[in-house]
């Protein structure tokens, strides 16, 4: 009997707590509820991230292994082994090059996006918190860079400095830091005028404490969603440059340059250009679908902010 009363009491307390959670000024609970499309997309993204890590060790060939003189072989057994996706214009195994290329395409994009976030958030929060001429100065420079087509900026930098992996990462990071800056600044300004920030300031908390304990946690969720979108843009940017022959330089493999190299094979009925293009598409579409799913579930206001 006693057990029963305890459990009803617990239930009562829980019910009270639940009622408290429903109060209008309590922060909304953050739940990750994805549709099945969202879960499939998560699986695709995780798959490619795993390939980034282990790709080179599970690839049947090295990315630069050439198999005799037979370029654009269809899928099937070759002189040195089985080519699951056929060979490319230099008769290298397409599957192995995709597995190796994941590291370049996704790795470079991830690095660039992370640096862009680091720069964008630091400067954005700084501008939002300090305001005044610091905000003015950073915002004007930012607007000017944002007013240009990204591919043009990339082309100008590469014309001047040549192309190497550090330059690619740096260029993409600076270009995309501008949009991160705008979002971080807007979010920071929103949060800085909230009552809880005022309360913290009245309590005598320092500016760093406020940024760390109030601003960043509240900006984290929208920024995390935006990270996905930004990563898609960076992947498209890097692979477009590679496709133009101005990104990752041969013989290193990269999905964008693989499409370029094997384009002529299309006329011989080879699909060597299609596979890497599909790899890019699967990665970027999956991320976009996840972001779409999360925004749809969180009332859609997020999606509007990010367009």
């Amino acid at each position: 009997m006693t057990e029963h009363t305890v459990s009803t009491k617990e239930e009562e307390v829980l019910a009270k707590l639940d009622a408290f959670a429903e109060l209008p000024d309590a922060p909304p609970k953050r739940k990750f509820r994805l549709s099945w499309v969202g879960w499939v997309s998560v699986a695709v993204v995780v798959f490619w991230l795993v390939i980034c890590a282990i790709g080179p060790s599970i690839a049947p060939f090295h990315e630069m292994d050439m198999d005799g003189d037979d370029s654009f072989l269809p899928a099937g057994p070759g002189e040195y082994g089985y080519f699951y996706l056929g060979t490319d214009y230099l008769s290298r195994d397409t599957l192995s090059r995709i597995l190796f290329g994941a590291r370049n395409t996704i790795g470079i994009s991830l690095a660039a996006t992370l640096i862009a976030y680091l720069m964008g958030i630091t400067l954005g929060i700084l501008a939002a918190v300090k305001g005044g001429w610091i905000d003015m100065g950073i915002s004007r420079v930012n607007d000017a860079i944002l007013a240009l087509p990204t591919i043009m900026l990339g082309l100008i930098v590469i014309a001047a400095l040549g192309s190497s992996i550090p330059i690619l990462i740096g260029t993409a990071a600076v270009i995309y830091a501008t949009s991160v800056f705008r979002i971080a600044r807007a979010l920071g300004q929103d949060i800085m005028v909230q009552d809880y920030v005022e309360a913290a300031a009245t309590r005598g908390e320092g500016i760093w404490w406020i940024i760390r304990a109030e601003v960043l946690p509240n900006a984290a969720m929208p920024l995390a969603t935006d990270f996905g979108l930004r990563l898609v843009f960076v992947v498209l940017f890097i692979s477009s440059l590679s496709f133009l022959g101005l990104g990752v330089q041969p013989p290193a493999s990269d999905w964008g340059s693989m499409v370029r190299e094997n384009l002529q094979g299309l006329t011989y009925g080879s699909y060597a250009a299609i596979w890497p293009a599909l790899a890019i598409a699967s990665f970027t579409i999956a991320i976009n679908l996840i972001v779409d799913d999360i925004s749809a579930k969180s009332g859609g206001s997020l999606a509007k902010k990010m367009v």
Binding site: D143, A144, I145, A147, L148, P149, T150, I151, M152, L153, L155, I156, V157, I158, A159, A160, L161, G162, V232, L236, S239, S240, F243, L244, G245, L246, G256, V259, R260, L263, L266, T267, G269, A273, I274, A277, L278, I280, A281, T284, I285, I287, N288, L289, D292, V307
Partner: protein, 316 residues
Amino acid sequence: MMTRMVMQRIGIGFGTLIVVSIIVFIATSILPGDVAQIVLGQSATPETLAALRAQLGLDQPGYVRYFSWLGNMMTGDLGISKAGGATISSLIGGRLGNTLMMAGWVAVISIPISIALGLWAAMHPGTWLDRIVTFGTLSLISVPEFFIATVAVLILAVELHWLPSTAYMTGQESFWELMKALAMPLITLVIVVSAQMIRMTRAGILNVMSSPYIEMAILKGVPRGRIIMRHAFYNAIGPIVNVIALNLAYLVSGVVIVETIFAYPGLAKLMIDGVQTRDLPLVQACAMIFCGTYVVLILLADIGSILSNPRLRNPK
């Protein structure tokens, strides 16, 4: 009020152009080794280098060179290409025409298609046809332009043999031949640009649909099609004009990829060749044309949305 806002936007646009020219100039001047060194190459001695630099005005301080470069560009003197020594204006002339022709056709084809499809999807939200349009356009905007181009080549040129896979032009073609050469790049660009425009048109209409006067019309019992055509569409014209101008601006990056993949003799192909051979005067000139067009189109989008807003047009 409105005139002031428009003038303000024009001022900002002009300022952006100045900043753009500074960025382009600095970015292309920071590399070690200047044009004199490139022209003389291995045979450079300190004396000949100094002489050529003086002749080209490279011994002047940076800001002097910037203003003379800007002045020359304003007056149509775009300088001399490093490769071959032809004047850049002569290189650009015909190429610019080709690119403008393609962009024009893309606009003429994609704008009506996108507005119709966007409207249609907004009229039937949540139906499976709307879902197909939403999912399809989301997929299309998430893939690189060259993916769409590659698939188009695979289907239309390789499998069906309907169209040539490169846009080779001699300048002597009949209209029909010209259209056939243009078809592949056109199809690719129309798909790329329309996907964006459909999404934004649909979002614009749905946004208007959530306003109180639409709710009023629904409560009055006006049929949905009529609400969209009579109430929502006119109020969405502003955002839609904005969408069109923005997407024509996005064409700039699409054109770069598409001209390369189909070897179309346009301005973007010229610029990519310039980047590959590091022909900086040529890159500077092309970049200024592209960035200038982009800034002007964004400016038009801004002004369009100001002009189409009755609250700004008729201030209290």
